[in-house]
Symmetry: C2
DNA sequence: CACAAAAGAGAGCGCTGCTCTTGTTTTGTG
DNA sequence: CACAAAACAAGAGCAGCGCTCTCTTTTGTG
């Protein structure tokens, strides 16, 4: 148990220092004063180690999002939305290589093992919770009607993941969810270089628009 | 010249087959019937080869976007917007590993060499062109006023990249641009697994919303 | 204490990127 | 045409990698 954690810690250190590509089992073992083959008692392969780090990263990010949300439990839904978005961005900026690990490019076609699902869902659940509360407090605007071709799919998405929210809201949320990660990824991976310099105000602006898009009533801004 | 192209072609083949991580100079050389050291006459390192592939990928994607745009030269701005978005998505689905190479995780902190800039800008320029034309044809709605904290930055962005567009439009476009890649990335990298099943209608829905967000008047949908 | 299970060590296989030296071929020019 | 220069290719080799196999040591339990 101890050793497993020590391996993950050292691996995370190397991940943060050099990125996933340069994470080497042999280097981890060396740093821990063991021989590389001994590591295989704890992780059957390098990929399994990475999967463990992925789950931890999802959990860490989810925890940040939940903490940011809970710290503003009394605020309005739009403020909580923005705060959670900023917490996710903050986590990403603080752990860029871990963010890359979970939202970067995982060999297209790769299907995450089921074990990652609960951890990966945590941030999304926070957003769903915000919208649910907003709806109950009548602070959620009904979106425009969905195009006909999307109605069935949106109904299914709602039934599967948030049966108490209208399909219009769920569809808008899923889009906003993906779009949020586009904003963060562009900042983190350099696409905003030479384009957006003052990132924080821009991010606040963008996520406020996202909030509006999902039906949250955004208070007049300063 | 010939050889450089042959190397890139074979490298692209391996990239498409196995992903960037497994692209091996030795394997490329083997397949070309040469010895690995001979490759270094043409590319000083594996990373340089990848950079060349990155530029080609940007160009290929840009070309798709431009072609989709030009094919609809007579249509309204909103249709052209949607068509370009769909062309980008189509290119990404057809070249997932190349997409991952350019919009996946390029070692956070990595700054793309200047040589990639023109190629990388092509898609964005298409969008700017659409908005410019829409504005000239009075089909562009003025966005809501920007928050005070973003006004200077938005003015700078507009001055740098699209001086004939209002800052409100430029800020909204940059956000939509990043958000588009969030949508595509989530689909391609598996985040939509078990969430969005019927991807095409969802994508059309999402990019229509993006079009609306940048001020394009979207015709009533079926 | 005895013994089985768990953990670590070590050697080794085939692969990688990359370098250095050697040999060969192509090319431009007097 | 002859010859030097430049371009190209080959081969051996270094250090590193993931991973496997076998063997030894440690450790917990009857």
């Amino acid at each position: 148990m101890e050793v497993t954690a020590a391996i993950k810690d050292e691996a995370r250190r190397q991940l943060a220092a050099e990125g996933a590509a340069k994470l080497s089992l042999r280097a981890v073992a060396r740093e821990l004063g063991m021989v590389s083959s001994a590591l295989y008692r704890y992780f059957p392969s390098r990929d399994e180690l990475l999967t463990a780090l992925i789950i931890d990263a999802y959990d860490s990010m989810g925890e940040s999002a939940e903490a940011a949300h809970d710290a503003l439990a009394d605020a309005g839904p739009a403020q909580r939305w923005t705060a959670v978005c900023e917490a996710v961005r903050g986590w990403a900026l603080a752990h860029p290589h871990e963010y890359a690990l979970i939202y970067g490019s995982p060999v297209p076609g790769y299907v995450a093992p089921d074990a990652t699902i609960p951890a990966a869902s945590r941030v999304a659940l926070v957003f769903i919770g915000i919208l649910r509360a907003a709806r109950e407090g009548h602070h959620l605007a009904a979106g425009p009607p969905l195009p006909a071709e999307l109605r069935a799919e949106a109904a299914r998405m709602a039934a599967d993941h948030a049966p108490d929210l209208p399909p219009e809201t769920v569809a808008a949320l899923v889009a906003a969810w993906a779009e949020l990660y586009g904003l963060i990824g562009f900042e983190l991976f350099g696409s905003f270089n030479r384009v957006v310099e003052d990132r924080e105000p821009f991010f606040r602006y963008a996520v406020t628009r996202l909030a509006h898009g999902v039906g949250l009533e955004v208070p007049a801004q300063a």
